[in-house]
């Protein structure tokens, strides 16, 4: 009985710690995004709350918490309320499997990669529910786009990591990192790396693939009807997802925690930080795709290139094993 309560206690501690860490890091990434985009657009960005605007996101967060969560009369109440949690929880669950350093890993699943890739599909389910239960035409159009986009882009997303799995021979994240102790997979699989990054952008609905939000057309897309805390959850989830795909990119292609001098988790977060910066940079530069262009880009370019890449990887591995070993 005592054991049971100790376990519960530690669980609450870890989950609570994770949630707080996530919220705080999202707050600073949010601030970074606003300041970096502002810098690129030749303006100042938020710089009033706290030193150089450091507390801006805290203020925004409090504002959203204190606002009334409006549940419109025409929505499907249960699903409407459930959807933001369904988006946020899988995003947070992803953090269970990331190896932060050689020893610091919560759960080293032997199907870690698969686990992460499938979590991102559950996020899509949450967004689908949000749009569907809103009973709003803009949200409906947004989720139609979402379904088409996610079905298409998850194929190259998974296929682009297949080459790495073939070389490593394991889906375990720690094994993938270990396999990169001599050379990072970004050098062995450069094409797969680029495709992974494109698909990751699509997966987290960032520009130029932000059709699901598409402010200029669909007002807010799937979250048009959301306000207050539920809206904050969507916002949080979007950025947590960005962190997740960035971490995954650093684990699979940039050697995860590996690096000299500094401790592992700093290397890992530094690499993820780089991807986050690139995402922000892309947002400041690129335009939104149209839905048909988005799909034809995926089916006509990304998937064939992925398949060719896998075939070449297979040939490469065979050649390597039969002649150089």
């Amino acid at each position: 009985m005592n054991d049971f309560f100790t376990n519960i206690f530690f669980m609450v501690l870890v989950v609570g710690g994770l949630l707080i860490t996530l919220s705080v890091s999202v707050m600073f990434i949010l601030l970074m995004e606003r300041r970096v985009v502002a810098f690129m657009q030749d303006r100042l960005g938020p710089n009033r709350v706290g030193y150089e605007g450091l507390l801006q996101s805290v203020a925004d967060g409090f504002k959203l918490m204190l606002k009334e969560t409006i549940i419109p009369a025409h929505v499907d109440k249960l699903l409407f309320f459930l959807a933001p949690f369904l988006v946020f929880v899988p995003a947070a669950m992803a953090f269970a499997v990331f190896p932060l350093s050689k020893k610091l890993v919560a759960v080293d699943l032997n199907v870690g990669l698969l686990y992460l890739l499938s979590l991102s599909s559950i996020v899509a389910m949450g967004i689908l529910l949000a749009g569907w239960s809103s009973n709003n035409k803009f949200s409906l159009l947004a989720v139609i786009r979402l379904v088409a986009k996610n079905i298409s882009y998850e194929i190259p997303l998974v296929l682009s990591t297949a080459g790495v799995v073939m070389i490593t021979g394991s889906l375990k994240l720690s094994a993938i990192i270990d396999a990169q102790s001599h050379v990072w997979f970004v050098l062995l699989q450069p094409v797969a790396f680029v495709i992974y990054f494109i698909c990751a952008l699509a997966e987290v609905n960032r520009a130029p693939f932000d059709l699901v939000e598409a402010e200029s057309e669909l007002v807010g897309g799937f979250h048009t009807e959301y306000s207050g805390f539920t809206f904050a959850l969507f916002y949080l989830a979007e950025y947590v997802n960005m962190i997740v795909v960035s971490l995954l990119a650093s684990v699979v292609f940039l050697g995860g925690w590996q690096g000299s001098v500094l401790p592992g988790f700093i290397w890992l977060f530094g690499k993820a930080f780089f991807f986050l910066f690139v995402m922000i940079w892309i947002r400041a530069t690129l335009y939104r795709f149209r839905i048909d262009q988005l799909l034809s880009f995926c089916w006509k370019w990304l998937i064939p290139i992925c398949l060719v890449n896998i075939a070449l990887t297979g040939v490469g591995i065979t050649v390597w094993q039969s002649y150089f070993r």
Binding site: K137, L286, Y287, R288, F289, I291, D292
Partner: protein, 365 residues
């Protein structure tokens, strides 16, 4: 499988309706099948109101029509009054007027392409356009104190002379603007996704454009070389060297390119004006405070950034116009919207709307 068309109400409160425009779209999935523009949310009855104002007091109403290029509106109203009352405008005043109108054109076209880029999903060009427009507004503020509703060009000339060293500051602005145009082109014209999005949608042929009586960049984007500044030169345009920009495509991309090239042409025009403007001279012709033109009617039109803006005015010999009517290019462009929009995707419907560059203040008046 049973499918149904969905009716979507865009606006009047919507991020991309450029004001308070409303569209009722029937969509089949993502494809637009029917478009019904609804206007009138910004109707303030300026034409009727103008008939209750004396000739010189009606001017501030024109500021509020096309609020992105108030100078052109001021000019066309002033020209109508001048023609009714037969007022001769001093030559220096004419130069200042054209200078202001062309600066305003740069600001307006910059906004148009910036807002268009925002409709396509990138905020950066919009912010850049705003930054450069800010510089023009500073120049306007210097001559007339106002940043949006100038009432600077008046019957008989302009409200005030140019301050000391103004030409130099205009020149300095033009240098900055020319540099920034390169940046605009890198961000928009050369962007692969921008081209993919803009090319081949929102098509209207030259014949259709003429029969809808489109004007300005919307007409020139369909390959019809009509520009009142060349065809019927007013003020001092006949002394200036510039060319009419046309693109044959008739699509969103062509209209965008026309605007970008007109930005360059306007910079060229302003440079010539700064060079040629007489150093001394009157800036406002003498005229009575209360104008009482002889009975008669007049229609005068000029090329505003949005196209041919005209004023029809009837005088019955009193101090107020008997009839006052404006030909608003934006309103006419709304009429052609359905032809351009049918069959495009929802996302492109917004792009098409952005490409015709309407100002709702002018549509509704």
């Amino acid at each position: 499988m049973k499918t149904e068309e969905l009716t979507i109400n865009f606006g009047p409160q919507h991020p991309s309706t450029h004001g308070v425009f409303r569209m009722i779209l029937d969509v089949d999935g993502e494809t637009v099948r029917k478009v019904e523009p609804v206007i009138g949310y910004l109707h303030r009855g300026f034409e009727k109101l103008g008939e209750y104002k004396m000739y010189k007091s009606g001017l501030p109403l024109t500021d509020r029509m096309d609020y992105l290029s108030s100078m052109s509106n001021n000019l066309v109203y002033s020209r109508a009054v001048e023609q009714l009352c037969r007022i001769e405008v001093p030559i220096r005043a004419q130069f200042i007027r054209v200078l202001m109108c062309e600066l305003n054109r740069i600001a307006s076209h910059g906004m148009a392409v910036g807002a268009f880029a925002q409709d396509l999903g990138s905020t950066t060009p919009f912010v850049f356009a705003f930054r450069d427009r800010e510089r023009i507004l500073d120049l306007f503020e210097e001559v007339c104190g106002a940043r949006l509703t100038y009432s600077f060009i008046r019957p008989g000339g302009v409200a005030g002379d140019l301050p000391e060293g103004y030409e130099k500051r205009v020149d300095a602005f033009l240098d900055i603007m020319e540099e920034n145009l390169v940046e605009y082109h890198q961000l928009m014209t050369e962007n692969e996704i921008f081209q993919m999005r803009a090319k081949g949608i929102g098509f209207i042929s030259g014949e259709d454009a003429v029969s809808y009586s489109l004007s300005g960049p919307n007409l020139r984007g369909s390959g019809v070389p009509r520009d009142l500044r060349k065809d019927d030169p007013y003020e001092i345009y006949d002394q200036l060297d510039f060319s009419i920009c046309t693109q044959g495509g008739g699509d969103v991309w062509s209209r965008y390119l026309v605007r970008m090239r007109e930005l360059e042409e306007s910079i060229k025009i302003v440079r010539q004006i700064v060079e040629k403007i007489p150093k001394t001279g009157e800036f406002l012709a003498r005229s009575p405070n209360i104008l009482k033109p002889p009975p008669g009617e007049v229609y005068t039109c000029i090329e505003s950034p949005r196209g041919q803006v005209g004023v029809y005015m009837v005088s019955d010999g009193t101090d107020k116009p008997y009839r006052y009517k404006v030909r608003p290019p934006s309103f006419i462009a709304v009429g052609a919207l359905e032809t351009m929009m049918l069959g495009v995707k929802v996302a492109d419907a917004i792009a098409v709307l952005g490409s015709i560059d309407i100002v709702l203040g002018e549509v509704d008046r």
